[in-house]
Amino acid sequence: MIRFSHISKDYLLGETRVHAVMDVSFDIQRGEFAAIAGPSGSGKSTLLNLLGCIERPSSGAIFLDDVKISEFSPDESARFRLAKMGFIFQTFNLLPVFTAFENVEYPLHLRGMPSTERRRRVLAALDEVGMAAFIDRKPTQLSGGQRQRVAIARALVGEPVIILADEPTANLDQKTAEEIVSLLKRLHSEKGVTIIFSTHDAHIIKQAERLIRLESGRLITGEEASHVR
């Protein structure tokens, strides 16, 4: 479904060129629950950003169902993300002025969905993540775990093809982190949605069905087999 073909991504940091991702190629099949692992600065977030059309590669190509998504314009990328992707962030990234309900509703608003359908879907998504009782709470009135659940509901509500989660447990305590990963796993198994997340937490890595390991921007081959259950 997703094909990374010789992807490299360079940044200019002042006058120095930093190679964040170097010649990475791999495929991800529909319905996978995959982790991108590696130490800090290994290029995990960059890889997720490239996959989510948040950044464009310096070279190489990314395909989703044979559509070359790596050359989308910024607005094409936005439309693509809205239609196909769900995002979960390390820092939850909920809009502070919106309630839990409104945060989840936002992507459906962007799609121009009628309000009755929006309401039905939002309530179902919040119920799915166990947040039905907190729909009127603002993010500041929620704990870290609750915020991440709302963020998961927001990622889920548009019924995306892929959910990308960038270190979704990094800002949570161990217990909450495990609850969040369990929730993601349950959603993956119940809905069959493809979930790709980055992490450097060994406990979380063990939960993944597939591991893509990065080090200094390069894909470490031969490691995958040992981690795939």
Binding site: N49, G52, I54, E55, P74, D75, S77, A78, R79, R81, L82, A83, M85, F87, F89, Q90, T91, N93, L95, P96, V97, F98, Y106, P107, H109, L110, R154
Partner: protein, 408 residues
Amino acid sequence: MYGKLALRNLFRNRVRTFITLLMIGSGSTAMVIAGGFIEDTVHAIRESTIRDSLGHLRISKKGFLEKKLFHPYDYLVSNPGELIKKVRALPHVRVVGPRLDYCGLIGNGELTLPFFMQAFDPALEDRMRNTTMILSGRFITSDKPFDVMVGEGLAHSLNIHMGDGVVLLGNTQRGAMNAMDISVTGAFRTILKDVDNSLIRAPITVAQKLLQVDGAQYLIVFLDQTENVNSVRDALLQLFKKENLDYEVQVWRDIPGAEEITNMENMYRSIYRVMKWVLFLFVILAIMNTMNMAVLERIGEIGTLMALGTERHGILKLFLAEGVVLGLLGGLMGCIMGCVAAFVLSWIGIQMPKAPGSEMQWVAHIKLTPGILSGAFLMAFFTSLISSILPALKASKLEVAEALRHNI
């Protein structure tokens, strides 16, 4: 949705938003006050000039306007009673009276000075009693057809007082010299000192006797409101056409002397325009600063919105919506503050010094019109909208990945 998000974002930082609204509101308030003051001043000068000398409309025999300079008494309205009755019956018309303007010499036995006479029918133009500022003596009346009032400066120069006799000298219609002994009933003051140095107000019988004519040069028409002048002019022209009457109509702004009002109005309006630009720039800078800060503080959020699928024009709309909300609220606040300030200032009254060439002090007020209020509101609205364009463009052009890093 963008409106809701914009409104909530604005009230996240209530103090900053309040200060920004106060700045926009103050700009609009200043516009309302300045505009209202100028409107009142222009209105007061215009109305007093119309009331004291021009009239709203003048009706004269066809040919008078063209030839009055060399033949001022060849096109007289004779027996104007019937015409006065017809004109008086038109809507918005309050006063119609015959007029004769006359120039000559006035002497007290020792000194002779030139004068300009406004001659009218005191019975028909009783309103002149209320609009003439009498300094001493009493107003002229129709039962004393050969008594006159003199301007303050003229009375002072000739050292004449109520009851004194003076001689008026002038030409008859045919060019012969004529003289007349008259009695002074009192002295008055107009807004222009130069006018007071030569003006005489007299019953029309005085001018008719000096000229040895019947009738009037023109009929002066006063309306309920100056704004109705065009409709009454049209009604008059229709009346003349319908009844085949040989008259022409002159509107106050076409009468010699009115150009000074127009010039003064233009000058005030130019000052107001400059003020508006200064306020416009001041408010633009203030709002731009606020909007820039809003963008800088919310780069992470902008990244999130973009990551969730908001297109660049969506971000642009969001920040423009914030500008629009600021403009609407600021404009509304400015208009309310302006109305309150205008009411208070008008209630107290703004004591104005003597204007150049005038001996009269006056009290200015703030005259509010729909034009001034809507102008102030629109200024606030468009200023806010324009000020938010650059920050909104800046926000919409952020790189998503770079913006998202601000969340960490």
